[in-house]
């Protein structure tokens, strides 16, 4: 039971850190003025156009596709797989499990392998392409290592340790409803949980901020209408 309590404390702390950290960053992005109009043109001339531009960026990584096919392939594969895997994990958080979550279970299983393949491709580039090697910091390797370890430990729970997922679900639901249940003392489960806690803490203080940041990038989200609508903010509004 000690283990359950320790992990519960870490999970609560990490969740708080993640939510407060992200909310704080998003508030800062939203509050910081964009004094000048700087959309990278050609840019949409209406708000609806910007929504369409961003939809393409977020769903199919449009700019990246036209930029570098390898990074696009690995990066897109990783992100889509991650989304599927996360969706699949919803079954641990819902009772009864939502219909569509049940539906995607088999896809989610294979997505884990696609996720690993994507990460491996991105990581390989950090060693093999001299330009990418040059711009890589230790932290870039560590984040890839962390994600890779999360994926591998998750797969290990499924294929190696055969832990009873009913117990895992009971623990997770217990966390959600503040009704602590025993945590299965399986090595891979503990490792998986520890790594996820680490990721939650790293998220709001690292480059993983690209996820919320994208929606505030002035070159992408500004409407190209400076002649029609007078824009002022920050020092240009003084």
């Amino acid at each position: 039971m000690t283990l359950s309590v320790v992990y519960a404390i870490f999970f609560y702390a990490a969740t708080l850190f993640l939510l407060v950290g992200l909310a704080r960053k998003i508030a800062i992005y939203a509050r910081t003025p964009a004094p000048l109009k700087i959309p990278t043109t050609p840019a949409p001339i209406t708000k609806a156009g910007v929504v369409w531009r961003m939809t393409k960026e977020v769903t199919v990584f449009r700019s990246l596709f036209f930029s570098n096919k390898w990074i696009w392939l690995f990066g897109w594969m990783f992100h889509v797989a991650l989304a599927l895997v996360l969706a699949r994990h919803l079954r641990y958080f819902t009772e009864p499990v939502w219909g569509w979550v049940t539906l995607i279970q088999p896809f989610g299983k294979y997505a884990a392998f696609a996720m690993i393949a994507g990460l491996a491709g991105l990581w390989a580039r950090r060693f093999l392409v001299d330009r990418v090697r040059y711009i890589t910091n230790l932290s870039d390797h560590l984040i890839l290592a962390l994600l890779m370890a999360i994926a591998l430990s998750g797969l290990s729970i499924k294929y190696l340790s055969h832990t009873d997922i009913v117990d895992i679900k009971a623990y997770v639901m217990g966390l959600m409803y503040f009704d602590l249940q025993p945590l299965p003392a399986d090595g891979f489960v503990l490792l998986h949980f520890s790594l996820v806690i680490a990721l939650m803490i790293v998220f709001p203080i690292s480059k993983l901020l690209h996820a919320p940041g994208l929606f505030f990038s002035p070159t992408r989200v500004q409407v190209d209408n400076p002649r029609e609508v007078r824009h002022t903010a920050g020092w240009t509004a003084e």
Partner: protein, 501 residues
């Protein structure tokens, strides 16, 4: 000028998937523009020399800039080092210096920002590549933020739209604020504030030049085409880069504008007070100077009582005019609301052609086999016409209306993917000649493709910087200097003067 001490890159045949050079660290570490003299820095509101507490002051200024700019905030946080931008900069392609890869250039500033303003950088600097703002870093900043032409090509390809131009403008502002200015930009800005143009051409000289032009053009064409200066009550104020008053091939463009105005029967004027479209304040990221320089133009327009403002062929000037004027010195509610404020000369000419006002003889340009260079600031930081991408369509339509032989360069080198000429962003100075020649390589390679395939002999541009840069660098690649031509020279040559009378 001293003989070049560098080799001009060899032009290989154009390939759709280009050869990306292997990195050569330090290849351009020696490239460094002349520093501004104290009086240049002071004339635009900065300390003359490196201030005593420069580290502290620089870091503080950086913090202020980030606080006031959503772009900086987001760009400094979000880069994931994916590498998509690493092969997109013309200076990297031309020099192989890894610090000319956009992300590496950003990292020069990002590493300092992280050190002083982020949790990870404060407590684990090695882990995230955070660095103290020391002399070595400052030198790297000066060298490599003056190897960025702020052309925004990287921002097109970045999955988050990170724009190295914004970072390089901020870095230059930080340096200026601690007394480290670049001579070329700061000296020129000082002249604009005092005289009204980059060249330092005073009113009497400008008047002389324009009168001389009137005589020359009349001698040439037999028609009295006017170049009016400071004419109160004119309908149109033309704001054009001062290079147009001064040198080939710019001046032929000015003659072209005058022919267009003449043929349209328009009432127009230049201003001696605001005789400059260029606004180098953007290059050094100085908001105060940006506004002050733009204000001259608004003041001149009000003083002359014009109804419209039209901007001549200049890339960054069009960005400032199109994207920033309304914000900085607007609203332009004293102008005729029927017309966009401001309007590009290409929009004006295009409209006249559409309405059949200009009679054009395409055959007059049959000796030309033309290609068009999209200038970076027009392509990626502004627009023409009323649809996205009009900045690509209008100039080409004007050219095709004026000439029979038009050929585009390969698709990955035009429109929003255009390569910078290599001289933009305040780098158009002889002390950066090696950088300029090497940075021109990707454009020259694309040009070679159309020269070899279509025997193109005319490279048309609508930017004073591009024109000057190409006039200087074309010969390094064994192309004649005369290839570079103003768009409105082609227009001017096709106009059937007097045909409307």
């Amino acid at each position: 000028m001293a003989k070049p001490t560098f080799d001009t890159p060899e032009l290989k045949p154009y390939q759709e998937v280009p050869d990306i050079p292997h990195i050569e660290p330090g290849a351009m570490a020696h490239s460094r523009p002349f520093m501004a003299k104290p009086e240049h820095n002071e004339s635009i509101g900065y300390p003359g020399e490196l201030v005593d507490n420069w580290q502290e002051a620089g870091v503080k200024r950086l913090g202020e800039l980030v606080e006031g700019s959503k772009a900086l905030r987001v760009f400094l946080d979000t880069c994931v080092k994916c590498g998509a931008c690493t092969d997109k900069c013309h200076y990297f392609l031309g020099t192989a210096d890894p610090k000319n890869m956009p992300v590496a250039r950003q990292d020069l500033l990002r590493s300092v920002y992280r050190r002083y303003y982020t949790f990870a950088g404060k407590y684990f600097p090695k882990l995230v590549g955070a660095k103290d703002f020391d002399k070595e870093v400052l030198d790297d900043w000066y060298n490599y933020f003056h190897q960025c032409s702020q052309c925004r090509r990287c921002s097109v390809f970045c999955p988050y739209g990170i724009d190295t131009a914004e970072i390089s403008m901020a870095a230059r502002e930080v340096m200026d604020s601690i007394g480290v200015g670049q001579k070329y930009c700061n000296e020129i800005l000082g002249k604009v504030h005092v005289v009204g143009n980059n060249l330092g051409l005073p009113e009497p000289a400008l008047k002389d030049t324009l009168e001389g032009l009137e005589e020359d053009v009349e001698e040439d064409t037999g028609i009295p085409i006017r170049f009016p200066l400071d004419e109160k009550g004119a309908d149109i104020l033309l704001i054009t880069p001062s290079a147009d008053f001064f040198a080939e091939p710019h001046i032929d463009g000015l003659i072209g504008y005058a022919k267009v105005f003449h043929q349209a029967g328009a009432s127009w004027t230049l201003s001696s007070y605001a005789s400059e479209a260029a606004n180098f304040s953007m290059f050094i990221g100085s908001g105060a100077n940006l506004k002050k320089t733009a204000q001259r133009i608004r003041d001149a327009a009000e003083e002359l009582g014009v109804k419209r403002i039209i901007v001549g062929e200049c890339g960054h000037a069009w960005r400032v005019a199109y994207s920033f004027w309304n914000t900085l010195v607007g609203p332009f509610d004293f102008l005729d609301p029927k017309y966009p404020a401001p309007m590009h000369i290409v929009e004006y000419t295009y409209d006249l052609i559409q309405r059949g006002v200009l009679k054009l003889d395409k055959e007059a340009n049959d000796h030309r086999r033309i290609t068009f260079h999209d200038s970076c600031n027009v392509a990626r930081a502004s627009r023409m016409g009323n649809m996205p991408g009009g900045q690509f369509i209008l100039p080409r339509e004007v050219l095709k209306a004026c000439a029979n032989n038009f050929y585009d360069m390969p698709p990955d080198t035009i429109h929003e993917k255009t390569f910078c000429c290599g001289g933009g962003g305040g780098l158009l100075t002889d002390d950066l000649m090696e950088l300029r020649v090497k940075g021109a390589m990707p454009r020259m390679q694309a040009l070679k493709q159309v020269v070899d395939e279509y025997e193109v002999n005319t490279l048309v541009a609508i930017c004073a910087i591009c024109k000057t840069q190409f006039a200087k660098t074309l010969p390094y690649y064994e192309y004649p200097m005369s290839m570079i031509t103003s768009l409105h020279e082609v227009v001017g040559d096709a106009i059937q003067l007097g045909s409307n009378d």
